[in-house]
């Protein structure tokens, strides 16, 4: 591709929120003043040592960070190639990486004096993290969740309700994550004066892709230090699953300028790329939705198409704009894994390592199963184990029992 390589892959976005042609602020006028306020509040918070210090306290004692970087010995032996490390984000309080971002945004909401928090959720992990921190700080919490996802992620719905959140099943459109985001935006437009929209991924209007990335970058920053302690050097490759792409961006971003590190993002290929899937880069093209320009699944008329993935957290027809840019300039390789590949990886990791992964990172493990055997034994591969699989046990159990009949 004929694209000029930047001096740094980490300097974006520009002051208007663009990563190359991607990103931007494609929102209704009602929201624009608030988005500008948020940008200002975030810039001030970043420069305030007290904000960082308070956040570090909660990250350590409430979230339980740092998360371990664990050598997956049996998986490594089984695959017979690269030395595989798991970044154990599933051990965080609430069971996924989502809490890193939510903590940051809730602290921003508090700085901005907002008492009512709204969020969208797919798998429910972002909803649970948001409900948790709203409970901790005594804030009202409303979570929009597609009605289809409410069905397939019941354990998380129950958790959110126990935490005091109101879960609103969204019946419009395809009744999954994209519709939950539409409905959250409609709520935000209506209640803009007192409401903070806690977006769960590195997407949406500027400054969300940036601030979510920054809050998630703790994953990559810790990995860098931990790998230095364990192996005395940088890893050789990174692998993470991508829906919107926040766990991946959190792991990748601190390594983007380390040119020896190969980086792989794994989209959800659903039933396969020629059928129903959720792989925006593999099967989409640039368009504008939910406040940003990015790769989207759509038809010839620019109508957004239904995504499909076994994993509710990856079931979204778009991807964060910075990923679209990293794809176009060729810094990150975007692959995809099917539902069946993810299910196989889910079972393999459970049986070999005693770790039940969420279906989302099972997509990353599925590609590790392909990539690791082709690499030498001194190759250090880090995979982001972004969430635990407890929420998926009923769904996967049904599928496996159905298949074994």
């Amino acid at each position: 591709m004929n694209v000029v390589k930047p001096n740094s892959y980490r300097s974006g976005p520009d002051e208007r929120g663009h990563f190359g042609i991607f990103g931007g602020r494609f929102v209704a006028e009602t929201l624009m003043p608030l988005i500008l306020d948020l940008e200002k509040a975030y810039t001030e918070a970043k420069a305030d040592p007290a904000f960082q210090a308070e956040m570090n306290g909660y990250l350590k004692n409430y979230v339980g960070r740092p998360s371990p970087l664990y050598f997956a010995e049996r998986l490594t032996e089984h695959l017979g190639g690269a030395k595989i490390y798991l970044k154990r984000e599933e051990l965080n309080h609430t069971g996924s990486h989502k809490v890193n971002n939510v903590l940051g945004q809730i602290m921003l909401a508090r700085r901005m004096g907002k008492k009512r928090i709204i969020a969208e959720t797919g798998a429910g992990q972002h909803g649970v993290a948001t409900a948790t921190l709203c409970a901790r700080f005594g804030l009202e919490c409303i979570v929009y969740m597609g009605a289809v996802d409410v069905e397939r992620q019941q354990p998380n719905v129950i958790r959110m309700e126990m935490l005091g959140a109101t879960v609103v099943p969204v019946q419009s459109g395809t009744r999954t994550l994209k519709d939950a985001m539409n409905e959250a935006l409609r709520d935000w437009v209506t209640n803009v004066h007192n409401t903070f929209y806690c977006i769960g991924t590195v997407a949406g209007p500027h400054p969300y892709p940036t601030l979510v990335r920054d809050f998630q970058s703790i994953i990559g920053n810790e990995t860098k230090v931990q790998m230095q302690e364990i192996e005395g050097r940088l890893p050789d490759s990174l692998v993470a699953c991508i829906g919107g792409g926040s766990n991946a961006m959190g792991l990748f971003h601190p390594f983007l300028d380390d040119s020896t590190v190969e980086i792989f993002g794994v989209e959800a290929a659903g039933h396969g790329l020629t059928q129903l899937h959720a792989a925006s880069i593999a099967g989409g093209r640039p368009g504008v939705l939910h406040g940003n320009r990015t790769y989207l699944l759509m038809d010839a008329d620019g109508q957004i198409q239904d995504a499909h993935s076994i994993s509710a957290g990856l079931d979204y027809p778009g991807i964060g704009p910075e990923h679209s840019w990293l794809h176009e300039i060729g810094r990150v390789n975007y692959l995809s894994a099917t539902d069946d590949e993810a299910l196989a990886a889910f079972q393999l990791l459970s049986k070999l390592e005693g770790i039940i992964p969420a279906l989302e990172p099972a997509h990353a493990i599925a590609k590790v199963m392909e990539l690791a055997p082709k690499r030498t034994k001194d190759h250090l591969m880090v995979v982001n184990l972004s969430g635990r699989g407890d929420k998926d046990v009923p769904q996967v159990g049904d599928i496996l029992r159905g298949k074994s009949k």
Binding site: E29, N182, V288
Partner: protein, 278 residues
Amino acid sequence: MTTRIDTRFAELKKAGRAAFVTYVMAGDPDLTTSLNIVKALPKAGADVIELGIPFTDPMADGPSIQAAGLRALKNGMTLKKTLELVRDFRKDDNVTPLVLMGYYNPIYIYGVDKFLADAKTAGVDGLIIVDLPPEEDEELCIPALKAGLNFIRLATPTTDDKRLPAVLANTSGFVYYVSIAGITGAAAADANAVGEAVARIKRHTKLPICVGFGIRTPEAARAIAEKANGSVVGTALVDALKNSLDADGHATGKTVNAVAELTAALAQGVKGAQQAAE
């Protein structure tokens, strides 16, 4: 350059009354019925027509207009067919201003330059694109102005005096004041609050100011028309259309009349308004 919008508002000013602006969704429930509805609107008293471009993910619209867009898409409506509809409408009507209203993605995918050329040729006068604030003016607003189309901006209760100049800078035709923070079809606007907001915006611009969101009845349309240069009604017309459909969502013999009758009643309301002094 004078568009049909400029001409129409100049005529209305001379006549001393406010504009009645109607919104319907292109292709709802099907292309032929939709064309007949659009043709009926000026005869029923609409001064300006806003024609919605269907989109799968209309994030500033309430359930009625969401459903209208999905009905149109289900019956094969596209942006290309929307422009064909405008061209067919223009065969019989070369004076009523017509504004396309929608979201950016279908236009971006159609291709901005091609869209502007085709829209101008078809007889479109202006654009209202909900998800293009002034921060994104280079995308479509500036090219549209160069192509001779009006770019009508939304101002909202959250647009304060500090921000208004930026919002108005590249606006032409008229200003669309969104009377409530919310989505289409939501709670009714308070006429007194609207009056204050219109007065505030008038300190920054000489453009006509039309007010929409939350106006459903002839009485409400009249109350707003006394405070502004125009009342916009959308959801109520879309609901009247929907209520005329059969159980499968298809048009019936009553569909065009249902919209035309409500349009006539609302137009009477607007025409009965005492126009505020400029």
